[in-house]
Symmetry: C2
Subunit: 414 residues, 2 copies
Amino acid sequence: MRAEILAVGSELLTPLRSDTNSLHLTERLRAVGVEVAMRVTVGDDVALLEAAFRGALERADVVISTGGLGPTEDDLTREAAAAALGRELLRDPGILERLEARFARYGRVMTPNNAKQADLIAGGRELENPRGTAPGQLVETEGRMLVLLPGPPREMEPLFEGEVLPRIRERAGGTLLHTRVMRIASMGESAVDDALAPIYRRYVAVSTTILSQPGQVELHLTARGGSRDEAEAAIEPLAEELRRRLPGSFYSEDGRELPEVVAELLVARGETLALAESCTGGLLAERLTALPGASRFLEQGWVTYSNRSKTELLGVPPELIESRGAVSEEVAREMARGARRRSGASRAIAITGIAGPDGGTEAKPVGLVYVALAGDGSETVQERRFLGGRRPVRFQSTQTALEMLRRQVLGLES
Amino acid sequence: MRAEILAVGSELLTPLRSDTNSLHLTERLRAVGVEVAMRVTVGDDVALLEAAFRGALERADVVISTGGLGPTEDDLTREAAAAALGRELLRDPGILERLEARFARYGRVMTPNNAKQADLIAGGRELENPRGTAPGQLVETEGRMLVLLPGPPREMEPLFEGEVLPRIRERAGGTLLHTRVMRIASMGESAVDDALAPIYRRYVAVSTTILSQPGQVELHLTARGGSRDEAEAAIEPLAEELRRRLPGSFYSEDGRELPEVVAELLVARGETLALAESCTGGLLAERLTALPGASRFLEQGWVTYSNRSKTELLGVPPELIESRGAVSEEVAREMARGARRRSGASRAIAITGIAGPDGGTEAKPVGLVYVALAGDGSETVQERRFLGGRRPVRFQSTQTALEMLRRQVLGLES
């Protein structure tokens, strides 16, 4: 089964508003095995809207529109959909009565323009909208389904969930698509794909997609099944082979991001952490404290941007900064040692590097970052050369630090 | 002139990827007075794609597609666009040669599938893409313009800006829409609108929109003109009245966000800054160091999550934390004093609060935040009660801190 979504409203074609309804519908339809083949955003223009409905009805089994059902003259979805189907609009006395009662309840007189919200496409049925004045509509025609939903998400979502999705799911045969997301922070996209493609290509019942951003690669494994458990059972043998191929590399298979995984690991092991950040300027602390509960493991953090603060706050010898430079393996190591010693935490991370865009030299280019990790009797420093602008360099630095920490705590190789 | 945008790629129809290209193009087209009438997202299906191109070419003066120009078998934009126009694809020897040279430069052999990136729609011209292998294409037909652009934003945006927009602008008759964005961090949306709506409603040649997020209100003033200067001249009298109504409140009128404005102010005045963050956990440091050049004013930052670290690192008396609580005006003040004293910076900010979701009590609910600012002979503490979840509470805390700092440095009332 294929669906198309029409998001209606001129405001959605400006940079000021974004169409979140379509994303929500796409996700919910996908969960019952219905693929969205096309998504259209169209302004408040009745001819364009009619063309959009006509095209969608030619191609898709289910056509869902959101928006344009209100009382103003810009609300043209009913008219356009009726015209595309070649059907009339009929004013429904029951809906009209409820509209009037609703206005009376709020002590207001209903203005005449509101009456058009009671117009139903001939042969269609009302989808009652308890949260707003504009009801939705559902028309079944030659094996196709046309659904008109109101635009505000708080009205649209319950209507769709309660009145529309069960019908679509029944028609779609009751199967659903489920996706497991497996994440890696320690390898680049092509290295991951080289290692894993020969494996996942053999699993034809599971569709595998690789998505990457600097510092992170995600595998999306999708399978169809009668239930989530059935889909998971289809995915697991592939996931197991992938894990065997890259042991320890998948830091999460359940949607958690790296800071959350590391935070839970530290809490579970009773470990505490201190941070000394130079080029990341607090980003690592921010990522770890964006989730609640960081106080259970985070002792303290320093943002030591200046050389003076590296010396005064962390005890890095000034002559070491002088001889090796603030961006060096030795200074990173001393920063981590100082942070651990002064905080009393069981582990400490230090990051120093050149985030750019300025400050690079031939010997120490923009993107050069040292991440040091001091633990109980163990110290590691990694030198990395990240590509991209200031933001990706900083983000990748924090990913590297968190992954080093995860591996050190778990006793994995770095 | 009307434009339609086609975003091509099955991944854009999943919840995994969002189509940022269309938003960018909509904004840039709007700037030259071209309205986007419809926006379509379509998967890698040649029949659907062809239907989408055909419909768009019937309705719009300018049709722009992004994506689907790569070398894989999922990349079908060229084929679909050619079919919709009823034209052939012709392999261009010049492009082919450059493709091969590009591969050779990176020491790789070009696989045969790459050759189709050299296929041009008959009568079209290449838009050379210096940042990727897939060139764009431009076809002019019966007064209409069809543009195929690559999907990666870093390839798409310069191609569009350099090769496409000047042509569209010329056709559109040279007028443009220009928007000035005026930002306020110290007031809520309804207070801003109550104060300013009576003014901006009188200016009919300028369209004014208010957008808000927690901690920030933006006014978008848009006018049409033959040039940016002409549009600015139409906007300025309104802007001047708005400034007179809320003196000192607009922290920026040129797109800069608050951290950038504050950073430039500190550098211009030769001021230095130290930060002591509890509930914001490094977010303020992160926001100030996300821009280059923070080393010119940022002395150092502390993330003092635990009570112990507030005492050890900032010298907050433990008995004060005991008697008043870590989230209190007195502790915020001592944190700021300690940060200023220990850093030697000319100003210091301290933030302590309850970001939630847990940790609130009746007397000290989630969202209660104290922001303290210690300067040269002046101290200010603000108590705020922010709404929303952990993220908006943290963000609003940093906005409040930055706005307090801006006002203190400028000598404005808090």
